[in-house]
């Protein structure tokens, strides 16, 4: 079993690393400019599927743009939105969760009421409502998803801190005269890292699917920026004639999310098996 856990972490880690490399080195890896339109070779099937597109490994779209290059560049948006949202939502959620759990009483009550409002809503619907207000845009999508996702971190960290603050090492630190913020930062928070890492990993998979969903619905990133969700949405109109327009971006989303979920699964088993019930 132990070997399986590490296998999951390794395979998931490799997929995530591939996504990072793809995103960072997109200009080097993409064979074409993702925006370059060649109307004379529109909707060309990949050569290995019996099509005429020799140079375009995954074919071309309705404007003659190279699908592979757009998928490679699309990974940038997934990575950017995924990583930034997870970090920001994690910071906000961990801060509020830690403060609520550690100080309790009124602070806990206020934070509890705020989380209650956010939890009263399915998170993607909240993100849809926010995107309807904010309009399309990479920063807007990060804000919308961050606002919808911080609650998960807040709940987990609050629960952890509530139990950690009763432990002997915290009492000892306080007895030695350490101030509250010092105890919280140096003694309590480092002990929540394992859980936060697991929540963040699963959170990243959810954020990447959510970004793709919002872009698919036309509420995400502006149309001129290649994203996996918007590629799927555009490709839908040509599905019978050119199924590769929808098949390949979907595979890209699936493999990425699968890899991150696998990593999360492995990390949870290795770092914090008790989270199995919560996630």
């Amino acid at each position: 079993m132990l070997r399986l856990r590490y296998f999951k972490v390794m395979v998931g880690g490799i997929i995530l690393a591939a996504l990072v490399v793809c995103g960072l080195a997109a200009p080097l890896l993409a064979p074409f400019d993702p925006q370059e339109q060649r109307l004379e070779s529109r909707l060309e099937a990949p050569a290995w599927l019996g099509g005429r597109a020799q140079a375009n490994l995954l074919g071309t779209d309705n404007l003659g743009r190279d699908i592979l290059s757009r998928i490679v560049y699309g990974s940038r948006i997934s990575l950017l939105v995924g990583a930034t949202t997870v970090v920001l939502a994690g910071l906000v959620g961990c801060f509020l969760g830690a403060v609520a759990g550690y100080f309790g009483r009124r602070v806990d009550e206020v934070v509890g009421k705020i989380t209650e409002i956010f939890l009263a809503f399915p998170f993607l619907l909240l993100a849809i409502a926010l995107m309807a207000f904010l309009g399309q845009g990479v920063i807007n999508i990060i804000i919308a998803l961050m606002v919808s996702r911080w609650v998960q971190y807040c709940r987990v960290v609050r629960g952890e801190v509530l139990s950690l603050k009763e432990r002997d090492f915290v009492t000892a630190a306080k007895a030695l005269g350490a101030r509250d913020y010092y105890v919280l930062l140096r003694h309590v928070m480092p002990n929540t890292l394992a859980s936060v890492t697991v929540v963040a990993t699963f959170g990243m998979a959810i954020v990447i699917i959510s970004e793709a969903s919002l872009s698919f619905l036309g509420l995400g990133v502006p149309a001129h920026i290649p994203t996996w969700g918007s590629m799927l949405s555009e490709g839908r109109s040509y599905m019978n004639r050119a199924p590769w327009l929808t098949i390949f971006p979907g595979i890209a989303i699936f493999v990425t999310v699968f890899g991150i979920n696998l990593l999360g699964d492995g990390l949870r088993d290795v770092l914090d098996p008790k989270l199995r019930r919560q996630i």
């Binding site: 079993m1 209650e116 409002i117 009263a120 809503f121 399915p122 998170f123 993607l124 619907l125 849809i128 409502a129 926010l130 309807a132 207000f133 904010l134 309009g135 998979a205 699917i209 793709a212 969903s213 698919f216 619905l217 036309g218 509420l219 969700g229 799927l232 839908r236 599905m239 019978n240 199924p243 929808t246 098949i247 971006p249 979907g250 989303i253 699936f254 999310v257 699968f258 979920n261 696998l262 699964d265 199995r276 019930r277």
Partner: protein
């Protein structure tokens, strides 16, 4: 009973808070809905008249107060796009979403509980590993892509199932509950029933897959935990057959966790219904929400979002009540 009443009363400020936030978001959003409706050719006089008619020329707080005071008597205003009362539009579309969500839940339960239970019983066998792997794949599949692929293969290439809508054109079902499956059965309209089932299958599988994957994992771990309990050993020691032990002692106790997760995952079902309905042009409230956002019909959007919040709350309350049926030891 008191707890239920207390929870309903406790939900009022939360729902008011949500309604105010949604109201603010819709009113502060960029883009003027009046201009969107009238077009660029509208004269300033026309624009002013419509703004006055809709009450948009009044202070924001007053507009919110009017919205809430009318909402409590069931008047949610008229849709800007459809020109009909918002509540009528919502209730016209709601049965379709209820039918889709119920069918998806059924799909999820039918797949997940047998696989999850069998995986736990046959722990660490090939079946168990395969089941866990399939569940991970199910969680990772974006449902809009799964929907598109089902449409392409089952609808387009193999022509097995209809790809859009709720029922075949030309088939009429006499509305009683407006749930096509129920109404067609009540009126013995079997052609209508079959058509409704065919139209529901792909959207329900699309929406139910992710839920099935999550519930399979939870069922597996929950059954494993219950199997370790002393009362299971006692039941076996009494000489009960394995089937009875699994059904009466293991599954019944494991189901509490499963029902909790099903309740918690209702949000995912609502999230997914918006996307699934869009993919399949399925005429439910999720599809209506995306339409209302795209034309900036803020009156319809705010009510729909609030409505989703209320459904979420009500179903979570029902799940809590269901616990008492599954486990009589639990009192609300």
């Amino acid at each position: 009973m008191n707890t239920i009443v207390r929870r309903i009363i406790g939900a009022v400020p939360v729902l008011l808070g949500i309604s105010f936030l949604v109201f603010l978001l819709m009113h502060l959003a960029p883009g003027d809905p009046v201009m969107l409706l009238l077009g660029d050719d509208a004269t300033p006089g026309e624009v002013a008249r419509v703004r006055h008619e809709w009450g948009l020329d009044q202070p924001l707080l007053l507009q919110y107060w009017q919205f809430i005071s009318r909402a409590v008597i069931g008047d949610f205003g008229r849709s800007l796009k459809f020109g009909e009362p918002v509540i009528k539009l919502v209730f016209e579309r709601l049965p379709a979403t209820v039918e889709l969500a119920s069918m998806s839940l059924l799909v999820a339960i039918l797949i997940s509980i047998p696989i999850g239970t069998y995986s736990a019983i046959k722990r660490d066998t090939l079946f168990d590993h395969a089941g866990t792997g399939v569940a991970l794949i199910g969680v990772s599949l974006p449902n809009f892509w799964l929907g598109i692929m089902l449409i392409y293969f089952l609808g387009g290439q193999w022509n097995l199932l209809p790809v859009a809508g709720r029922i075949e054109y030309g088939i009429e079902i006499k509305p009683i509950t407006k749930l096509f499956l129920v109404d067609s059965l009540l009126t013995a309209n079997f052609a209508g029933f079959w058509s409704a089932v065919q139209h529901l299958l792909m959207p329900a599988v699309t929406l139910g897959t992710a839920l099935a994957a999550i519930v399979t994992r939870i069922t597996r771990s929950s059954v494993l935990e219950v199997m370790r309990q002393d009362y299971v050993t006692t039941a076996r020691a009494k000489g009960l057959s394995e089937g009875v032990v699994i059904r009466r002692h293991i599954l019944r106790n494991a189901m509490i966790t499963v029902v909790t997760i099903l309740g918690l995952q209702l949000g995912a079902l609502l999230n997914g219904s918006v996307i699934t309905e869009t993919v399949f042009s399925y005429p439910g409230i999720g599809d209506l929400l995306i339409q209302s956002i795209s034309v900036r019909d803020y009156k319809l959007t705010q009510v729909l979002i609030l409505f989703f919040g209320v459904i979420y709350f009500v179903v979570n309350l029902l799940v809590d009540m269901l616990y008492t049926l599954i486990d009589p030891r639990i009192k609300l």
